[in-house]
Amino acid sequence: MLDRSAVGRTTPPTLNEVERGAIRRFAEALGDYNPIYFDAEYARASGYSNVAAPPSFPISFAAGSDLRELVGVPARNLLLGEVSFEYERPIVAGDRLLVTSRVSEISDRPGPAGRVEVAVIEDEGRDEEGQIVFRARRSYVVRATREV
């Protein structure tokens, strides 16, 4: 069961240093060998200030927020149904981002096999000057388990 009182719960800002090696490993794990993720010179010629992070890279920040602590259900019982990102500017190697996650919604809605519980978490990444760099929204449903 999701914690109904979780709405509004916010994690303290976590510093995420965007390292070149982390970008490289993320791109390699996807099997994406675009030089903008590996070669700073190529990235600059493509309009980035340094090696760029793949669009879904903020996923790796989100792992810092413990879902059980946030919504009362551990990650293995949650299914990611929908996700969205908004970028003020591209994330590049060398960025130091302060990321916070906030529970914005706990609800239930009708599903094919009865009602399903939904938790929505909004993440926000700011640079050290406080400028917003990205926003993300993750929408989870509670996985039907055998105990239920």
Binding site: A29, I59, S60, R76
Partner: protein, 226 residues
Amino acid sequence: MPPRKLYFENVRVGDELPAMAKAPIDRVQLARYAAATNDYNPLNVDEPAAKAIGMPSVVAPSTLGLGFLGQLVTDWARGGQVKKAQARFTRMLWPTDTLVCKGRVSDRWGEGGKYFVELDVWAENQKGELVVRGTVLLKVFYSFEDETRFRTGQPPLIVTVPRQSILAAPPPPPPPRPSVGKGKPKPGKAPATKKPAAKKPAAKKAPPKKAAKPATKASKPAKKKK
């Protein structure tokens, strides 16, 4: 070699992105992705743990499919900036799944020297089933000249291009619901069957805005009598 770029002037609504086939997802990839995202959900990396809760094997994180769509878009939109991306996961991803990622330009517009391209993107598995679909908003330069102006600190090239999807297919106005307010305060037994019958024709006649009000007023009493 300087990277080739995608410019607004070369993009048309309806253009298809070259389909991108990914290698089959395997457990080594899941291990690498877990490390890269620092997310060691046992369902993604621990086979006995996944089987213990009744799954046939470990499952791939849905966001892996999202990463593939990111690759599809970034490969195509060389030099374009992803401003927004949204995805809905419609099916679980499993080891051995082989995804094909596809996309299409759904809209483009230019305003005040800024140029945007909107894409519909999706991925299918080897059975042709949709596993993830979404939309992406890209910001691009209008042309090589526009980019050169930006790099040399000059004002952007201004070409006003209205959203094409709006020109092509105006979204129908939401059907008005004037009858709901009148009917609801009194939860009587009799009107229950009559109300839906009266509402449907009213909604159909609504789109021509000028005629909407007289038409609904005229049609409602007529329907009730029948």
